[in-house]
Amino acid sequence: MRVRIPGLYIVLGLVLAGLIHIIAVLMLPMLAPKNAHARLAALGPANNMIELPAVAPGRQVMPMMAPDVRYAFCRFDLANGPVRLKAAVPDDLWLIALYTPEGDNFYSVAGADMKRAEIDLVITGADQTVEEAGADAPESSDEVVVVNSPVTEGVAWIGAPLVGPSRSHAPSRRSRPPPAVPTPKQAEAYDFLRALCMRRLDDVPLCRGLSLEARRSIRTPGKMMISPSEPCTGLSIRLAASSRRRNSRMTAITKSPSSLLPFARPILRRG
């Protein structure tokens, strides 16, 4: 009888160890106090583009950052609406990546794949749509890439690998052979000032009486509950809903409340 007890405890110990192992592995991403998102949150407010200085000893936001890549990031918060990211992309090597706070890279695009010098990216939450207020012509909305984010808060990240020497951030007063002087192309690549990250719902003209709830439900015509308290006239709302990645881009244009209310399929056209 006595002999069997330790055996039982060994089995119990192994089962317990397995359970603890699983719990530890699953909990760690949520508990890691110094994950990248937490480090970046300390640098500035959300929905602002922040450019990181060239990485140098003792001046690293995260461990193992590439010394020959320049970084800028925008911590996006979709709680109050979609966020737009605009950046001039002067180089094929540039990468734009979107992350969840846990570090899942749920979207990325390289400069070479964009086929244009500027990226205009709108990050939307699960139940948000994008109203294109700034662009007039329907064609221009083709320039906007809409990415559905699985999370309300996350990080948009721009990485610009250097084309030239990785020590190019060294003070220029040192006399260096020609390669150490940034080429015009490189100098441009360091310039993040044209990268913008902003919350965009605020600057979208709202039709009076048309609530945000209704605007959201426009995307799913079956669930529409629009009850404008007063008629909206001359309204023009353009939607560029859903993600380009899934090739299910839709554009809808409405001109009057009567056409808005049924929000019928005929005015939804695939682009």
Binding site: I20, V25, L28, P67, A97, T100, E102, G103, A110, S166
Partner: protein, 195 residues
Amino acid sequence: MRDLAYFIGTFAVALLLGIGSAWYMIEYGSPLTTTKVGPWASWDSEGKPDADPYTRAHVARSGRLPLSSTVARYFVARTDSNGHALSSSCEYTIEGSPLNARWWSIAVYDEYGGLIDNPTSRYSFNSEELLRHSDGTFRINLASTARPENWLPSGTDGQTLILMLRIYSPRETDSLGIGLIPRERLPKIERKSCE
């Protein structure tokens, strides 16, 4: 009384085993999650939203923001090709051939992932700037004092070193879209001499 002692003992051992094995598999990986080629190790699903729990835990613990392995691959070496830990008190040569990717870079860090201060402010070599031989191969000299060709300074403090090879947009991918780097293409790290 004896049962209680057994129970507490079992629990303590289970805690040690569970946490210890989790820590090891998160920190160093396992054949399930990592590819090991000589001294180089790479997490196959790093950064991917559908990554396994070990990879996710590894990324969260590392404090890094890796690009998805479909866009970039990261290879980390803590030892030379013979398995000896990298140290700045030794001198190494890193020899390899060009990688089939849009851009790649080899950087050296201390054991905490920090860059190592040096008079030339050189922390890495990338595919655009590396001096190469006529056949496209290259050699990087990892040493604490100046060397000809590509000199990657390793500092003078006798610290442990980590090398990271990052490869952006590999041109070959597997069926899951994960970037493929042929094993024989990864650089060899040879120890030359030690102080």
